[in-house]
Amino acid sequence: MNGIALSVSRGIARVTGAALGPYQTAVIRIGFGATWLLFLLRELPHRHELYGPGSPWGHDLAEQLIADNGAFTVLMWSDGRVWFEIVYALAVLSSVLFLLGWRTRTMSVIFMVGVLSLQNRSVFMGDGGDNVLHLMSIYLVLTRCGQVWSLDARRARRADGARARGERVVDRAGPALWWVFGFVLITLTVTGGLDGDWFVPALLWAVWAAQGLWWAVGRWAGGGEPRILLDVIANIVHNGGLVVIMAEACLIYATAGWYKIQGSRWQDGTAVYYPLNLDYFSPWPALSEALAANGTMVMLITYGTVAVQVAFPFTLFNRRVKNVLLAAMMAEHAVIAVVLGLPFFSLAMIAADAVFLPTSFLRRLGGWAARARAGLPGRLPAGRGDGGGDGGGDGRTGAVPGPRSRKAAESDKDPGHTHVGFRT
């Protein structure tokens, strides 16, 4: 009995004491940010046809569908071309800043607004990759995904250094962003721009209120108890968001896998042959033909795919098996990107998989990136590299980062300020 109580209290201490998986949340932030950015840049010449006023999925059609389902999109506010260009540009800009981790929490919200606005505007243009991005952009808002590998982390380090030297650090951009964000929210709520489904507007208001509270407490209550309480709440929300992200990835694989088991083609081992012979999914017909030519290979890949997808959620209980399967799935998605011509779907799936990468691997990756940067001529003096600094976050697994990854977060002293967007 005592043992149970002890492990429960230890568990509580862990989920309240730190925002777990700082590297995992950072890598998916970068992954999804990059996926959306590259997609938007690739579709730049087709943006009007996909989401613009001149799309065959016309503004009037979208309006009727959205009146029915209440989906959130700022593109319904006007069917003007200028407004569309502004939204598209903001979506591009926010994905760059989110990827870099500049004012991460605020950018995560704008990133989400960009993703939802464009996708919900023309929902029939999307595919599975868009669906993954859609969900993850919402979940990421809940996380402190800028603790490491971000401009915020660098800014925090510099501010700490400046304070240590006795200088006063004043942040202007943060409060300015907050006021702009608040002004926009109030205007929209008053003018009815946020009518429709309640969820996204509620989330926007909640984040804005939380940021204001964080700032106010930091300003007037100093580093005292209220600040610690808010930090604990932010950690809990972050950890909840992280659980949802990981569970969502498992749900994707479980659904894809378990439904396949019921299909006759996945049973007789020929399933993989068919997509390779669909005109819409064979950009390299000679390659597809070569892959589809060997019956034994096709069957092994068919069975392997189902086995891996069904098994993956259960392998999270064993670090080694999980890592092997993770590598297999990432490899398969890389192949899908080329062979089936689904690069952005694959990129989104690889980004989702990355949440399960082990901390030790991610830290090594960060080290390589920092060294690669150092090798470049004309680099900036202080890199965006390993923001965790001296923290020894060698977590046991990506899914359940070990106790030491808490140290990594703690070594940032007060990682919260890096994402809530601003501090004084």
Partner: protein, 200 residues
């Protein structure tokens, strides 16, 4: 502590509802299906039956022709344009296919099929929306092919689909009919406001 409980409950509730959304119809969804839909739509919709239960085993080729009134007042019917083949040519050898090539027409057609009965009658709001959508894609594609010619105007359009079975793998010994299956939709008039596709 309160925050911990609230977040834990919210996480469990969200995951439970999303699980029920992706699960097959079952005891719980029969009782609480509405609550599940209420939460999941519009922002948490999930479509993860990727190539499942069975991958598509047919190539569906969507084709289009038009009636054009020419500059001298005559009415001319164009030949069939194979829009899917146009998409396919855009995708071939393309490392980064666009959603306009890969999803637009393909999903518009799926949307149409899913929202129409076997007599091509629309079912509900979505049925009529899908017709409007296909008709505008038609105008856009005809414009790109310059189907109306100089001074010509597209008056009516007609879609058909040609569904061909993918030939089973040589080692399976299976035989399927190689004959294509056609589904021809009625002619649709193009409203004056829709004639000039400004989406080019």
């Amino acid at each position: 502590m309160v925050a911990l409980v609230v977040v834990a409950v919210a996480v469990c509730a969200h995951l439970g509802l999303v699980f029920l959304h992706v699960a097959p119809s079952n005891t719980l969804t029969k009782q609480h299906g509405e609550a599940v839909d209420e939460w999941v739509f519009p922002e948490f919709e999930q479509n993860w039956k990727l190539f499942a239960p069975n991958p598509l085993q047919q190539n569906v080729s969507v084709q289009l022709r038009a009636e054009v009134s020419t500059a001298d007042g005559a009415i001319r019917t164009t030949g069939w344009y194979d829009l899917s083949a146009e998409d396919g040519r855009g995708i071939d050898g393309n490392p980064l296919p666009s959603h306009t090539q890969q999803n637009e027409l393909r999903r518009a057609w799926d949307f149409f099929v899913a929202t129409h009965d076997s007599d091509d009658r629309p079912v509900g709001l979505r049925g009529t929306l899908s017709e409007d959508y296909l008709r505008r894609i038609a105008v856009l594609r005809l414009d790109r092919n310059d189907a109306a010619g100089p001074g010509g105007v597209v008056e009516r359009v007609q879609y058909r689909s040609r569904t061909t079975n993918v030939e089973p793998p040589s080692w399976s010994g299976e035989k399927v009919s190689g004959r294509p299956d056609y589904r021809e939709l009625p002619w649709w008039p193009v409203a004056a406001g829709e004639k000039e596709g400004d989406a080019a």
